[in-house]
Amino acid sequence: MPRLSASDRCSVRFLLNGRSVAAEAEPRMLLTDFLRHSLGLTGTHVGCEHGVCGACTVQIDGKPARACLTLAVQVDGANVRTVEDLAPEPGRLSVLQEAFRRHHALQCGFCTAGILMSLDAYLKTNPEPSEPALREYLSGHLCRCTGYVPIIAAALDAAKRLREATAHA
């Protein structure tokens, strides 16, 4: 790993939601602040900055990761995906997002981006999840509004619809 000097600004080049990005960051800058305030993608939220609440979850090289525990300079060369990339086009929602809306799986919406990013990655490798498995998987996310019940229902519904779509394809 390269050694960085605290006083230097470092160049960070990476793939963000399918487009290449080049920007500068101080070595201590968190990926959350970098995404939100340097690059203007405010869909990724900051809930605790110590890795417990999961609101800041993004996908780094396809895997869910806490952006608040990641330094901006660490994603140099990586493929980063955020909630802004989930909808297929403006004005349309993904199957997962639609399921969340249908089941009232969000209220204030602050934790939602992180949960969507985790579920999006999970359902790709686990197309037929059980409820207990989903509950365990989502235990890395805190939601204070919904009591989780509608989130689990939305995830199960989305998984079913995604399977049906795959079967028909």
Binding site: H104, F110, R144, Y148
Partner: protein, 986 residues
């Protein structure tokens, strides 16, 4: 109401809010653009629970490049006045520590800099001299006449002491067959919204006016509090809210002292200032529900009928009495008899100040504390009289034919049928099945219990209830306060489309969707035709002191106001349509986007065309219509009157009913609670949106489950805060929250326009005590306190744990604070004498102590060091003093040290022993014992222990490198490390 008016309200339509929130296009406060030149604030907070502030030295911080201003208590005193206090007590309440710090986390200084990183750098450079004072933590201790006083101007720590009498409680107690009592210590907790506080403040010196954007949720009675504190007239304080909020649950009422603080910061800095609270600040220093000590006694007949209650409540509001406290205590004042018909009652309410974070609104607001005592007592009554707990509840419920029912202390219960709700819950929730499961479990030796709770959920607060804390004489002097003004504005634009504006400040509850349903029904439109604007601006919008998002007032009050505004507009439009369609106004109906003659639907005009008339052709309007462009309705219920001479108070307008029952099992080995089944029956009047009502119930249930089983804002006896991260303050996850079975009956409120009542807070009142009753039933014990953690329950099911193994090192004096101890060994490839010399060399020490900025040698055996250390998420700068004793060169030494920093303090003792071997290697063995206080203590033992081990390991590794390399060139060291990694020695 026409047939069409039923079309949308009552349906679970999809929320208009969701598309933006699901795609990352929400507009929360930290997402909004700010004015060019906006600066960023960070706050230095007290690491001590109680201390005099002797000096705050800010020069070094102010001199850091990028820093514009450093604000201290003196600046705030110079530019503001004290926040008003809700009781008659000669104390001041500032938004920052002035002369004294009274809780861990209290602001001491604010740095304003070009970005947040720079501002936090500067916090490290501020030096504060504290003189520690004894901390008062327990509310009982606070009553003690000899206790340390928090305020010199107050003769004790009791800020208010009131006694009330309703009916003839003395006679009822004298006559009753039984006197049954219970003692409760209700703990502190908070609903911790996922989004923290945020503020963007600016000040215009030309107009002497403040403009402050924040997630403040109301009540806007606090606008007056802030304006007064900032010393400006009301019209020079513009409060605004962002379009979206990341949740509140009452908590964002508590941001208001920071509005004053950031207003001052913007004024001093001469630029707009933005502050986003971080999570550690939020947990430690934002706001909390009150903890309360209660003694409740009941006068009971042989059959379990309760004749009288005697309440003695000691409310702990923390270090300040912040507005609207002591409202937590008085919000329930009319409802102290719960769902029961009890005519005699005495009440003693004391409010104490302690060295803890000040309290404020939190979902349930006073309800959890009251119902925990009342419903635990109902179970105790059943047990002591050997009656079925359900029978005791049945015997005491307010009769179904008694509504509206005036309680002993003055609440007017609007509607209900508690018996019907109870019996439906027992039937549809299958109590018989639950009892069979309990019996089966018990036959197998498992610990299974069933609990019940019956509660009345008040909503739509009377703005006057808080004055019950004053005596009738004091109230007479201040003038009457009452009511609950709600408001909504509906506008028609020149294309004839409908917009609505409300002052309800939603925090995620979907207000925009429900209002669109209500207005669409009134005007014969679809919800998607209506745009509702929910962000608030006190300079432009209709509002009053009751505006805001609290006391579950949206469905009952705000929707009603919106319907009134829509109805007024509709009535005008009907008169315009009557003229255009040549029929009588009473013949006009609004349906399917048209305005038409009821008996000849073909005689119609599109709604949009008619609705544009007042803009384009006002001369065609009938003369009795002034304009049909904009209607603002205000609505306040006449039932909400001021407290009477006899202290009777109708503290809320609406009263829902909840009956909960649950079955749970306690693991005999771990003490963990597993909820087998939870049933919650609600009567919240008319349901406007079933999906959102279910969301409120399930969400409130999850909050209550956390409060019952896991969460506590715990304090050490020295006032250190022990729940400072989400790894220590345990919020329930998807693994812990089961799906409750939700049941409903509907008895519409006769007092609200739509018949709706509040529903958002009830489970926070009913669920903690329902779970506790089930745990008490499972364990067969009388006294249980929240949270019902596995450790607590295991202690009740098992023998006492064996004492921990004795430690080798000398223990510190009995630990009042977070203790830290450890021992280890390190090897250094140099003889003991070289290691010894290095350990006494300030230059070497400075280069090997992790995070060290400087080491100063005060004497041969006394060192002073300046270090930055991080423990988990808590990183800060400390000044450390180390003294060496018992020096036996080059064999052993004792180190006695202390460290003080913004994040806390530590005192400790350690010993180091050096032993050489034949190969010229030194084996260093060490052990240490320390006590940690302040914010660092809040991160919890696991993180602290781990951090200490890492820091010590880094120290010895650096020592080993340094001592071994003193006479060797760098390339040789590099080669040695490489070879060592390859498993060879040079």
């Amino acid at each position: 109401m026409s047939v069409q008016a039923q079309a949308w309200t009552g349906r679970s339509i999809e929320r208009v809010e969701d598309a933006a929130l699901l795609t990352g296009r929400g507009r929360y406060i930290d997402d909004l653009g700010v004015a060019t030149g906006t600066l960023h604030a960070a706050i230095l907070r007290s690491p001590h629970a109680h201390a005099k502030i002797k000096a705050v030295r800010t020069e070094a911080a102010a001199a850091l490049p990028g820093v514009t201003a450093v604000i201290t208590g003196a600046d705030v005193v110079g530019l503001t006045t004290s926040l008003p206090v809700g009781v008659r007590a000669p104390i001041k309440c500032w938004p920052i520590a002035v002369d004294s710090a009274r809780y861990v986390g209290e602001p001491v200084a604010v740095v304003v800099a070009r970005d947040r990183y720079r501002a936090e750098d500067a916090l490290d450079l501020i030096e504060v001299d504290y003189q520690l004072l004894p901390a008062v933590v327990d509310p009982h201790d606070a009553l003690d006449a000899g206790a340390q006083r928090l305020y010199e101007s107050l003769s004790s720590n009791v800020a208010s002491d009131r006694r009330f009498r309703y009916g003839d409680p003395q006679a009822a107690f004298a006559e009753a067959a039984h006197r049954i009592g219970i003692d409760v210590h209700y703990p502190r907790n908070s609903c911790t919204p996922l989004e923290t506080y945020g503020i963007i403040a600016s000040y215009d010196p030309g107009e002497d006016a403040y403009d402050i954007l924040s997630g403040f949720q109301g009540p806007f009675s606090i606008h007056s509090v802030i304006a007064r504190a900032l010393k400006v007239p009301g019209n020079r304080l513009r409060l605004r809210t962002p379009p979206d909020s990341g949740g509140s649950f009452g908590i964002k009422q508590g941001v208001f002292p920071y509005l004053v603080l950031m207003g001052v910061a913007a004024r001093v800095a001469g630029r707009p200032v933005k502050w986003i609270e971080d999570r550690l600040e939020h947990l430690t220093g934002s706001v909390s529900a009150t903890n309360r000590v209660t003694r409740l006694e009941a006068a009971v007949d042989r059959d379990g009928r309760v004749r009288a209650l005697a309440w003695d409540q000691i409310e702990d509001v923390g270090a300040h009495i912040r507005a609207p406290e002591p409202a937590t205590l008085y919000r329930m004042h009319g409802n102290l008899t719960g769902a029961y018909d009890i005519r005699h009652m005495s009440v003693r309410n004391r409010v104490v100040v302690t060295n803890k974070t000040p309290t404020g609104l939190n979902r349930g607001f006073g309800g959890p504390q009251v119902y925990y005592a009342l419903e635990r007592l109902m179970q105790r009554i059943a047990l002591e009289l050997k009656l079925d707990p359900i029978d005791v509840i049945r015997r005491n419920l307010v009769p179904a034919n008694a509504f509206p029912y005036r309680t002993a202390s003055g609440a007017l219960l609007d509607s209900g049928n508690y018996q019907q709700a109870l019996e439906a819950a027992l039937r549809d929730g299958d109590l018989a099945g639950l009892q069979a499961r309990r019996d089966a479990a018990r036959r197998e030796g498992r610990l299974y219990g069933i609990g019940f709770a019956a509660v009345v959920e008040p909503s739509v607060s009377n703005m006057g209830y808080i004055t019950t804390a004053l005596t009738p004489e004091e109230r007479a002097k201040a003038g009457p306060k009452n009511g609950a003004q709600a408001t909504a504005t509906i506008s028609l634009d020149p294309l004839g489309t409908v917009s609505a504006h409300i002052a309800s400040v939603p925090q995620g509850q979907g207000h925009r969707t429900v209002l669109a349903q209500v207005i669409a029904d009134e005007l014969g439109l679809k919800p998607s035709d209506i745009v509702v604007v929910a962000e608030m601006d006190t300079a432009r919008d209709g509002w009053s002191i009751a505006s805001g998002n609290y006391s579950s007032r949206f469905a009952a009050a705000v929707c009603g106001a919106a319907q009134l505004a829509a109805a007024r507009l509709k009535s005008k439009l009907a008169r315009i349509a009557a003229a255009q369609l040549n029929v009588g106004a009473e013949e006009i109906e609004f349906a399917d986007g048209k305005v038409r003659a009821r008996r000849n639907p073909d005689n119609a005009a599109p709604f949009g065309r008619l609705a544009a008339t007042s803009h384009w052709a006002p001369a065609t309007q009938p003369s009795d219509v002034d304009q049909a462009i904009r209607e603002t309705a205000f609505w306040t219920p006449p039932e909400l009157t001021a407290p009477t001479e006899a202290d009777e108070i109708n503290s809320s307008l609406c009263h829902g009913f909840i009956f909960d029952m649950c079955g749970l099992e306690i693991d005999r080995v771990t003490g963990a609670v597993r909820i087998d089944k939870y049933v919650t029956m609600h009567d919240c009047g008319r349901v406007l949106h079933p999906g959102m009502v279910a969301g409120q119930i399930t969400g409130g249930f999850a909050h209550a489950l956390g409060a019952a089983l896991y969460e506590e804002y715990a304090y050490a006896p020295d006032g250190s805060f022990l729940a400072g991260t989400f790894a220590d303050y345990l919020v329930p996850t998807s693994m812990e929250v089961p799906a409750p079975l939700i049941l409903h009956i509907e008895t519409p409120s006769p007092f609200t326009p739509l018949g709706a009542k509040g529903v958002g807070e009830g489970n926070c009142m009913s669920t903690p005590v329902c779970l506790a009753n089930a745990v008490a039933d499972a364990l067969g014990i009388a006294d249980i306190g929240l949270p019902l953690t596995p450790a607590k329950l295991a202690a009740a099911t098992q023998n006492a744990e064996p004492p921990p193994p004795a430690r080798t090192a000398a223990a510190m004096p009995a630990g009042k604070r977070r203790a830290l101890h450890g021992a280890g060994e390190a090897r250094v490839a140099a003889p003991p004498k070289a290691v010894w010399n290095a350990l006494l060399d300030t230059r070497i020490l400075a280069s090997i102590i992790p995070g060290c900025h400087d080491v100063e040698q005060v004497s041969a055996t006394h060192f002073r060091a300046d270090v930055t250390l991080g423990v988990g998420p808590v990183k800060g700068r400390y000044r450390a003093e180390v003294k060496l004793e018992d020096l036996v060169s080059p064999r052993s030494a004792t180190l006695i040290g202390s460290a003080v920093g913004a994040l806390g303090s530590a005192v400790g003792k350690g010993s180091v022993r050096l032993a050489g071997d034949a190969a010229g290697t030194t084996i260093i063995s060490y052990d240490y014992d320390a006590e940690i206080g302040g914010k660092a203590a809040a991160v919890g033992g696991r993180l602290l222990d781990g951090a200490a081990r890492i820091v010590i390991r880094q120290f010895f590794e650096a020592l080993a490198r340094r001592v071994a390399g003193i006479s060797k060139p760098a390339w040789r060291l590099w080669l040695e490390r490489l070879l060592a990694q390859l498993g060879r020695r040079p």
